[in-house]
Amino acid sequence: MWIYLLKRVFLAVAITVIAVTLVFMMIHAVPGDPAVALLGPRATPEMIAHLHREMGLDKPLAVQIVIFFEGLLQGNLGFDVLSQRPVADIIFEQLPYTIELIFVSILWAVAIAVPLGCYSAMRRNSVIDQIVAIMAVATIAIPSFVMAVYALLIFAVTLHWLPAVGAGQGFLDGLVHLILPAFAVGIGWVGYISRLVRASMMEILGENHVRMARSFGISEWRIVLHYALPLAILPTVTILGVGIAWLLSSAVFIEVVFARPGIGALIVQAVNTRNYAVVIGAVLVTTVVTVLATTASDLIAASLDPRTREKL
Amino acid sequence: MSALVSVRDLCVRFRTMGPLKALATGTNAPFIDAVCSVSFEIHKGETLALVGESGSGKSTVARTMIGLQRAVSGSISFDGQELTDLSAVERKPYLRRMAMTFQDPIGSLSPRLTVRSILTEPFRIHGLKDRDLGAEATRLLRMVGLPADFVGRYPHQLSGGQARRVSVARALALNPDLIIADEPTAGLDVSVQGEVLNLLTRLQDELGIAILIITHNLNVVRHITDRMAIMYLGRFIEVGTTQSIFHQPSHPYTEALLAANPEPDPDAVLNRIELKGEVPSVMYRPSGCEFHTRCRYAQDRICGRVAPPSSVSLQDPEHSFRCHFPLSSKSLTC
C-alpha cells in the first residue's frame, strides 16, 4: 500500500516537472522573440535587451528552467512584466471564480443526475428511460459553449430573465449570475452521470445480496436507496476526479461567453497578448490541479475496490 | 544411438517482483526457481514424457528448449549445437527442425487468419516462397486427416479436435526432427483424445520424429511413450523407461500418481494412496527432500534434512530416482 502511494506521488511530481519543462521547451522552440512581440515593432534594441534581462530570457534554457523550479519551491510562479505583478497573485485572484463555477455546476448536475439514473435503472426501457438516454447522449455531444451561447440568446437577450455577463456583486447577485454559466457547464454532466449511475445501479440490482433483500420483501425503493445507491455512486465519485480536466476546459469557454472573470478567461487573454509568464503559470496551476485530482481519485478508487487494493 | 536433444543441468528462474520492490520489502531472492538442474536426453524417433502436477515446471522445460524462456544456467544441445547462447537470428534455422504444439488447441491459432494462412506461416517465416503454398496446405491437412476444404476456415469455426489437428499439421510443416507436444489431450473429449494420440504415433512411425510429450495424463504416457520423467517442484524425481516405471515405481510420489490414475481394467483392485497436504509453493521450498511434507514413508531424521542424491535401479540402469527410501529396495546409491 505504501509503495503504491509513494509511486503515485512520485509519478504526480514527475508528470508536473515534465509538463513544465515541455511548455518551456515549446516556448523556446517557437520562432519569434516574446519580448519583440510584447513591445511591438517600434522597440529599440536597448528596450528589448532590458526586457530580456527582466524576463530572464538572456540566460540559457536549462538555467531558465532551473530558476523557474527554484522559484516554484518558494511558491513563486514568476513575474508578469506587463502588469508588473507576480504571476501567482494574478492567478490566485482569478482561481476562486473558476472553482466556484465548477463546484456549483457539478453540484446541480449530481443533484439531478443521480435520481434520474436511479429512476432509469428501476424502470428500464420505460419511455422516460429512453428519453433520458437520448438526452444524455445529446447533451454530452453538444459542445458546452454552443449551449452557453444559446442559453444566453434565449434567457438573457430575448427573455431578459437573467443577467447576461459578469460575475455580479454580493452573494445573491453572484448566484443569479451563476445560473446560466453553471447550466452550460453542468448539462453535459447530467447526461454522463445519469448514464453512469444507471449502469452501475443495474449491475448492483442484479447481484445476489440485492436479490436476497428483495426476497425478504423489502420494498424496491428502499433497496435502491439503502442497499444499492451507496455502491452505485462510487464510479461517479471516481470519475469526477478525472473529469476535472474536462470541467476546466469547458470553464474556459463559459467564462469567455459570459464575460466572467476566472482562470479560463485569464488564459485566453494571456494567449491573445502573448503574455508567456501568465500562460506558463496558468498551465502549471491547472496541470497541478488536474494531476492532484486524478491521483486522488485513483487512490480512492484503489482503496475502495478490493481487486485493485490487492495488487498494491 | 546418439542423442537428438541433450539437456544438462537446466535451471530456469522467474522474477516475482521488480528490483525496487524487492529492495523495499527486504526480499533478497525476488525470484522463483521454476526448473532446477534438470537433465535428460531425447533420441531420434523416440517419445519422452514429462509428467507432473500443474506448476511442476514441465511446460517451462519445453518452453525453454524452444526458446520462449531463457535458461539461467545449464545447456540445451540440439544435434550437437548448443542453443542457450544463440541469438534469435542464429536460433532460427534450428526452429525449422523443432516444433511445438500448445495446450489450448484453438487459442494457439491466430484468430484472424484462415487455416490456409496458419498452415503456410512456417513457409513464409522461413522464406520458402518457391513452394506452392496452396498445395502444401492441402498436403498437411491430408496428413492429419482433415478435408482439404478446411483451408478457408477460421480457428473459431473449428472444434477442439480439429484445431488440435491443425496445430499438429502446422508443427509438421517443415519436416521437423522433434515435436514438443504440450498437453496434447487437454480440452478434448476422450474419444478425440484417442484420435489425436493415434495421429501422433502414426506420424512418428511414418516420419521418424522424436516427440516430447508434456502431460499429466498417465494413460497417454503408458500408451505412446518410450521413456518418462516425473517432475516435482521443478526437479526430476524419477526417470526411466515407461515400462519400468509403471511396473515398479521407486519414488513414493510416482507410486501415488500411478495409484491415482483410473485403471482401464474394471476388475483391478483400487488401492489409492492419498497424498496428504497441498503442493508446497516453489517460493517456499521444503528442506531436505522436497517431497517429505507429503510423503507417507518420510522419516524426520533424514528426509527433512538431507536432499536425496540420484540413485539408479539395480535391475534397470536407465531407471533413476531421488529418494532415501525407494520402494524397490534393490537399488544402489551412486
Binding site: V146, G206, R214, V283 | R170
Partner: protein
C-alpha cells in the same frame, strides 16, 4: 410489482425485458444510428458540394444589407460585413471535417506505433512511454491547446497538431493494453516457436486484432474534435478570417447577439447537428461491432 421485480432478478437484469421490448430497444438504437448516419451524410454532402450549393461568394464583403434577416436572397441573412450567412455556413463545414480527419488520422497512426512499442517492447521503454502518455493526458485539454496555439500562432496546422497530440495518448494506451494481453497469448508464443520475428508478429498477428476497436474509438472521438475545432475558432484561435468556419460564424453571432439571433443560429446549429450525427453514428457502430468496448478509457 415486487414479485415481478423479483422474477426479473431471477433471470438477470439484461434478459428481463421480453423479446418484443428487446426488439424495440434495438430498433431505437438503430434508429438513432440511422439518424446519425443521415446527419453525417448531410454534413459531408454539404461540405463537398458547397461550391455548387452556395448562392454567394462566402468571403465577398457586400455593401448591401448588414446583419439582415433571412430572405429569399439571403437564406440565413447576412453577417456584420454583409456576407451571406448561408453560403458561409455551407463552406464552413470544410475546416472542421478536415481538422477532424487530419488530426485523428495522424494521432491514430502515432498512437498505434507508440502503443505497439509500449506493449511489445522492453519493460523500461513501456514505463517511459506510459509516463509520456500520462503527462500529456494530465494537461487539461483545452488549456494546453490554448497554450500551444498561443505559441505557434493560430492556424489550421497548429490546430491539427494540438488535437493530434492530445488525443494520441488514449489510443496509444488502448493499443498498449490490447497488445500486452495478446503478447502473452498462446498463438503469439506459437508464432515465436515457428521462428517469426517481432515485426512479423506485430504486423500479421497483433495489428489485425487491435485495429478494429481502435477505429471505433476514433470514430467516437470525431464529434469531440469537431467541438474543439469549433471552440478554438470561436475563441478566434482557429483558422484566420475570412475563411468561413462554423465556430467563427458563431463568434460573429455572439458579438452581435443583441442585434440579430440569425448568425448564432447559423453558426451553432451546424455544430450541433454535426456533433450529434457523429455521436449517434459512433455509438451505433460501437454497439454493433464491439459492445464491450469501454466508453471511458
Amino acid at each position: 410489482m415486487a414479485s415481478l421485480e423479483a422474477l426479473r432478478g431471477e433471470t438477470g437484469p439484461e434478459l428481463a425485458p421480453g423479446s418484443f421490448r428487446k426488439t424495440v430497444r434495438q430498433l431505437r438504437k438503430n434508429r438513432l444510428g440511422v439518424l446519425g448516419a443521415a446527419l453525417v451524410a448531410i454534413v459531408f454532402a454539404s461540405a463537398i458540394f458547397a461550391p455548387i450549393i452556395i448562392t454567394h461568394d462566402p468571403t465577398r464583403i457586400m455593401v448591401g444589407p448588414r446583419l439582415a434577416d433571412p430572405s429569399l436572397l439571403f437564406l440565413l441573412g447576412t453577417d456584420q460585413l454583409g456576407r451571406d450567412t448561408f453560403s458561409r455556413v455551407m463552406m464552413g463545414g470544410r475546416v472542421p471535417l478536415l481538422v477532424a480527419f487530419a488530426s485523428l488520422g495522424s494521432s491514430l497512426a502515432a498512437g498505434l506505433v507508440l502503443g505497439l512499442i509500449a506493449g511489445f517492447g522492453p519493460r523500461w521503454l513501456d514505463n517511459l512511454l506510459l509516463l509520456l502518455f500520462d503527462t500529456i493526458r494530465s494537461f487539461p485539454g483545452i488549456i494546453f491547446a490554448l497554450a500551444i496555439i498561443g505559441l505557434l500562432g493560430p492556424s489550421l496546422a497548429s490546430m491539427i497538431f494540438v488535437i493530434a497530440i492530445t488525443s494520441m495518448p488514449i489510443y496509444a494506451r488502448v493499443v498498449r493494453t490490447q497488445t500486452e494481453a495478446l503478447r502473452n497469448s498462446e498463438y503469439i508464443a506459437a508464432e515465436r516457436t515457428l521462428g517469426a520475428g517481432t515485426m512479423r508478429i506485430l504486423a500479421v498477428h497483433v495489428l489485425p486484432n487491435v485495429i478494429g476497436p481502435l477505429l471505433i474509438l476514433v470514430s467516437m472521438d470525431v464529434p469531440a474534435v469537431i467541438a474543439v475545432e469549433a471552440g478554438l475558432s470561436f475563441l478566434g484561435l482557429g483558422v484566420r478570417p475570412p475563411t468561413p468556419d462554423w465556430g467563427a460564424i458563431l463568434n460573429d453571432g455572439y458579438n452581435y447577439i443583441q442585434q440579430t439571433p440569425w448568425l448564432v443560429v447559423g453558426g451553432g446549429i451546424p455544430i450541433v447537428l454535426a456533433t450529434l450525427g457523429f455521436t449517434f453514428l459512433g455509438e451505433a457502430l460501437r454497439d454493433m461491432f464491439d459492445p464491450k468496448l469501454r466508453k471511458d478509457l
